[in-house]
């Protein structure tokens, strides 16, 4: 369970938000809403542990994420708005290196299967620089398929994706929630996953 209490974010001398509190249990989805510049990405980066909150506490299974560090890192998969895909490497290399670093060793077949599932069949060996924005995004999202993380933190996961890929993403999120996972995401499109609790946090500017 992820518990967030009284989070406050200050960037420079501007306070982006304060008193953000919520708790997320297994099988729950949290959508963060707010206009551009309201601190959605900052909030997500705080939840990952990349940014220290000015105020407030984030705890995972009852312990502060600052004390957990590596254990928490194992439980979280973060897809930021940068795809984290290396232009010089192929989709295959990108995915296998990323998963290796996150502590999951994959066989070649598993990587191929994940990429095919993301609709990248036949393009696994192309260098990422020849892929389109949407395809790169798919390579990034393929990390979710192979990571064993419980908590997915997704920053605008649907940008640059076509209709089919948006559907696929929704089904992936649904499957993840079904397996007792948790998802936190920011998006300007509403994602409705029927049958699961969807919380909303509004960051008013």
């Amino acid at each position: 369970m992820l518990e967030v209490s009284n989070l406050e974010c200050v960037r420079g001398d501007r306070r982006l938000f304060k008193d953000v509190s919520f708790s997320l249990r297994a099988g729950e989805l949290l959508q963060i809403h707010g206009p551009n510049g309201s601190g959605k990405t900052s909030l997500l980066r705080m939840l990952c542990g990349l940014v220290l909150p000015a105020e407030g506490n984030i705890s995972w299974q009852g312990l502060s994420i600052r004390d957990l560090r590596e254990e928490y890192a194992q439980a979280v998969a973060y897809i930021g708005h940068l795809p984290a895909v290396k232009d010089e490497l192929s989709a295959l290399e990108n995915l296998s290196i990323a998963s290796e670093l996150s502590g999951v060793h994959l066989s070649q077949d598993q990587v191929f299967a994940a990429l095919r599932r993301m609709g990248l069949g036949g393009r696994e060996l192309l260098p990422a620089k020849v892929l389109s924005q949407g395809q790169r995004r798919r390579v990034a999202l393929a990390r979710l398929l192979v990571s064993g993380a419980t908590l997915w933190i997704l920053d605008e996961p649907l940008t640059a994706l076509d209709v089919a890929a948006v559907k696929l993403m929704q089904s992936l999120i649904e499957a993840h929630l079904h397996n007792g996972g948790m998802v936190i995401l920011t998006t300007h499109q509403d994602i409705e996953i029927p049958g699961f609790v969807t919380q909303r946090v509004d960051l008013a500017a």
Partner: protein
């Protein structure tokens, strides 16, 4: 976490960065040619007076190595920073100093080792005798990894800043001075008959210290820069 997995992680980062460098060869070659050209300018500018060249040779090679190392520092983290892979590295459950260590070693292999290998050839332009060239190679072999290690801290601190390139030189070049003094000093001491051992031992000590502390300092600096 057991040690074999740590070794696998180190190898994974090392291989990744080497593959990346291999696919973007122009970056590696530009550092090398910069080194070659800077050193070759001196005999052309100073003229063919042997005693003068011999006296300044070791210093010139070392200063050029410092500058070449500075030049390549920008690439150490900035590409990974720009495409988001560095962010992902910070979020992996692996100890960050270890990943940093792998990256810096890879950086040294592609930007430091070529300099060491070409140095004897360039030293010949200064009329350095064969045994002095050997000492030069030895001092560079001990000294260039120190440059990469110290430079990594500076590169991490200036990550994402505008004008970071200039700032990193102001930050890092003063820290390179001891390496320069003892690196060039080793060759000069050898030529003057004093023996290079004391200088080389000190360089070795710098190397051990930087290997021990720089990855931690760099990891801490990265965490600050990525906030």
């Amino acid at each position: 976490m057991s040690s074999p997995t740590l070794l696998t992680m180190f190898r994974c980062v090392l291989r990744r960065d080497l593959v990346l460098a291999l696919r973007r060869r122009s970056d590696v070659l530009s550092t090398l040619f910069f080194f070659i050209i800077v050193i070759s300018l001196f005999p052309l500018g100073v003229g063919p007076e042997m005693s003068l060249l011999r006296a300044m040779g070791p210093g010139v090679v070392w200063v050029a190595a410092l500058l070449a190392s500075m030049l390549s520092l920008g690439r150490l983290f900035s590409n990974d920073y720009r495409d988001g892979t560095l962010e992902q590295m910070l979020l992996t459950p692996q100890p960050l100093p270890l990943l940093v260590f792998g990256k810096v070693i890879a950086h040294w292999l592609v930007s430091g080792v070529p300099l060491v290998l070409i140095a004897p050839l360039l030293g010949m332009q200064f009329g350095l005798p064969a045994d002095a060239l050997l000492v030069l190679v030895g001092s560079l072999l001990l000294g260039t990894p120190v440059l990469s290690m110290i430079g990594a801290v500076g590169a991490a601190l200036t990550l994402g800043l505008r004008g970071g390139g200039v700032l990193v030189s102001l930050l890092v070049l003063p820290l390179y001075i001891p390496v320069l003094i003892f690196g060039a000093g080793a060759v000069e001491a050898h030529i003057s008959g004093l023996g290079a051992q004391a200088h080389l031992s000190l360089l070795g000590a710098f190397l051990v210290l930087s290997l021990l502390f720089a990855p931690w300092a760099t990891a801490a600096a990265l965490r600050i820069s990525m906030e």
